[in-house]
């Protein structure tokens, strides 16, 4: 066999094992899930019954709306706070900022279940904060547990470090020389932000938003342990449906989740492909 043909086949051969595993553990389950989602429980055969169930049932519509509301609030708060934090870490050189720079990734290394249970022992109605308040004669009932507010708080704990990490990378790509040049010609702080920092980093805002959106729309542990009974986030709804042996409906819900994630992925691709005026030559 001549060298040239060998060179052509070799990369594919090397990709084969990875592709084979992908096909078995990712691609096949996706198709099987889609097939299940069209398998009707009541009428039998194939059809849209399971999807109509989610569109027609006010309870399920509330669940989907509740999920989207929590996820959107999480995205806005997490990305907003993380953006400010990453600017601070990039441009401040104080001791505090160096410490935060070292510590902010710590939450990423704590297993999710441990973090959620830790948070519960602090914020629950008889948790640490409540017990401290009772020392001073008060009785704070934070009302965070079994409520959307608690879920959002927990989501921020998980997602701020992650988004800061993504946007921190973009911040560190900004050259000091660009900022100094702007200062030399008399630009104020606000002007530097609008004309230099934001244009160089807005793409990463959208990218972090996409990732935060996708990882939260399917979350389970946090809403299961910290959420109320109704409405429930989609991950918990799916768990309940599956537990009650509604395999078709839970498959349809995963497809709906998949479509929502795909929509945010479209935004990710669009922002990535877009070329700004100054990038064209």
């Amino acid at each position: 066999m001549d060298q040239e043909r060998k060179n052509k086949i070799l990369p594919y051969l090397m990709l084969m094992p990875a592709m084979a595993i992908m096909a078995i553990v990712v691609i096949y389950p996706i198709f099987s899930c889609i097939a299940t989602s069209f398998t009707q429980e009541e009428a039998g055969g194939f059809g849209l019954e399971n999807y109509l169930y989610f569109l027609a049932d006010p309870m399920q519509l509330t669940n989907i709306g509740y999920t989207l509301a929590i996820v959107l609030v999480t995205v806005v708060l997490a990305v907003g706070i993380a953006y400010l934090l990453s600017i601070y870490l990039r441009f401040s050189n104080s001791r505090v900022s160096r410490w935060i720079g070292k510590l902010y990734l710590l939450p990423r290394f704590i297993p999710g279940l441990v973090a959620v249970n830790g948070m519960i022992t602090i914020i629950s109605n008889s948790g640490l904060l409540n017990r401290l308040s009772r020392l001073f004669g008060a009785d704070w009932q934070l009302g965070l547990i079994y409520d959307a507010k608690g879920i959002i708080l927990m989501n921020l704990w998980f997602n701020i470090p992650f988004a800061t990490m993504l946007m921190g990378a973009a911040m560190s790509a900004i050259n000091n020389s660009e900022i100094e040049a702007a200062k030399d010609v008399g630009a104020g702080k606000l002007r530097i932000f609008w004309k230099i920092i934001l244009p160089l980093t807005y793409r990463d805002i959208f990218i972090s938003a996409t990732f935060v959106f996708m990882s939260n729309i399917s979350s389970f542990t946090t809403p299961y342990l910290m959420g109320g009974n109704y409405p429930t986030m989609m991950g918990v709804t799916m768990y309940n449906l599956y537990g009650n042996q509604h395999f078709g409906r839970s498959a349809a819900l995963s497809v709906i989740m998949f479509i929502l994630s795909a929509l945010s992925a479209v935004m990710y691709i669009y922002v990535n492909m877009r070329k700004d005026q100054w990038e064209k030559n």
Binding site: I145, Y146, G228, Y230
Partner: protein, 382 residues
């Protein structure tokens, strides 16, 4: 000492030879009338219990040698009953399914699918410990020998509730008189909440309904659901909303932190957590009238096994005070023999409990239907 690749290989090879040899011996002696196999499933504490009991049994006599096959729940536990029924229906005989652990609800399932011939009749007259047995199972008499009970009881804080309710009517009145101090977990997330919901509904129905999977009973649930709805506003609240915690442990956590005064709970969970010190001493248990649901768990010897004598000897042993002590200590199982025969130190944890009966529920798929209706009608009340 340096660990070399050779040494590692040597150890591995040695281990392989050993395991091969052991498996040889066990197959060679499978049908010698001495060895028999016990099949059980469940969580780890059940396994710990059996390991102790099997080794004690094997040391206590020379006639039989028991071996344990344990299937940890969540790893194919369903397949024990499926395997067993499949083996029976495909006409296999002389298998090593000599003795199986089952609850009375599971016994209903076995007997429905395979008939009375599936299990060997036990010669109770020749069992020296049989007279100790205080409870008679409602199913499989003469073939099913219970060795422990498990039941949902009312757990309460004796400091804030010195006189706990003893009937369901008193309980409902207490709940209404003390808003926010009672909770039960969502019925689909654990047996304690499910038992509360099921008995609240089935207390309005004839007792036979609780052992029937017939769809017709679902038409008579309305009265029970009305009751649950009327209790709803008086349940535990957080952030101004009524909340039903997830999981059996969810309500127990509220009870342990004194956020509530009462909840339905599995007796063994409360007792073992008290033994570990995570549940305050002031938490007590009481059985109501009519009772929450529970089960007798025991043994039966499938007729397709090959050593029913050994199986019977083990059933006998399980009713001995020694075996009952192990069950009580390792998993806070409720003993089925008289407390006076047991280790006084262990009995302290349960002596106030006087369980007159284990009210078994076997309503099949109707249980799921109840949970769904609860999710739809009660959880959404807000």
């Amino acid at each position: 000492m340096k660990i070399t690749a050779k040494m590692v290989l040597g150890v591995l090879a040695g281990a392989m030879v050993l395991t091969t040899l052991t498996s040889c011996t066990s197959t060679a002696t499978a049908n010698d009338g001495k060895h028999f196999t016990i099949w059980a499933s469940g969580s780890d504490n059940v396994k710990v219990q059996f390991e102790q009991q099997v080794s004690q049994f094997n040391e206590s006599q020379d006639e039989y040698v028991a071996e344990l096959q344990f299937i940890t729940s969540g790893t194919g536990a369903e397949s024990l009953s499926s395997r067993l029924i499949a083996a029976y229906k495909s006409g296999q005989t002389n298998t090593d399914y000599d003795l199986i652990e089952a609850s009375d609800s599971e016994m209903v399932n076995y007997l429905n699918q395979c008939g009375e011939d599936f299990f060997v009749d036990v010669d109770t007259a020749s069992m020296e410990n049989y007279e100790n047995l205080n409870y008679q199972p409602s199913v499989g008499q003469g073939m099913f020998i219970p060795y422990r009970g498990t039941t949902v009881l009312l757990a309460y804080n004796s400091e804030t509730v010195p006189n706990p309710p003893t009937t369901t009517e008193e309980l409902y009145q207490w709940i209404k008189d003390n808003p926010g101090r009672f909770a039960y977990n969502t019925p689909s997330s654990g047996g304690a909440g499910s038992s509360f919901v099921q008995t609240s509904i089935y207390n309005f129905l004839p007792e036979e309904a609780l052992s029937s999977a017939d769809e017709k009973w679902s038409e008579e649930w309305d009265q029970g659901f009305d009751l649950l709805e009327s209790l709803h506003p008086y349940m535990y609240q957080s952030a101004g909303k009524v909340v039903y915690p997830n999981k059996n442990q969810g309500t127990l956590d509220l009870l342990a932190n004194f956020e509530i005064d009462m909840c339905p709970a599995w007796a063994d969970m409360v007792i073992s957590q008290k033994m570990q010190g995570t549940m305050p001493e002031s938490i007590q248990l009481v059985q109501l009238d009519p009772a929450f649901t529970g089960n007798l768990v025991g043994f039966a010897a499938p007729s397709i096994g090959s050593n029913s004598e050994g199986a019977q000897a083990f059933m006998d042993y399980m009713l001995s005070p020694e075996a009952q002590n192990i069950a009580l200590e390792s998993m806070a199982a409720l003993p089925v023999i008289d407390f006076s025969l047991l280790d006084a130190e262990l009995v302290k944890n349960i002596e106030s409990l006087n369980i007159s009966e284990f009210r078994s529920s076997s309503i099949g798929d109707l249980g799921t239907e109840i949970n769904e209706r609860w999710d739809r009608e009660i959880a959404t009340l807000g």
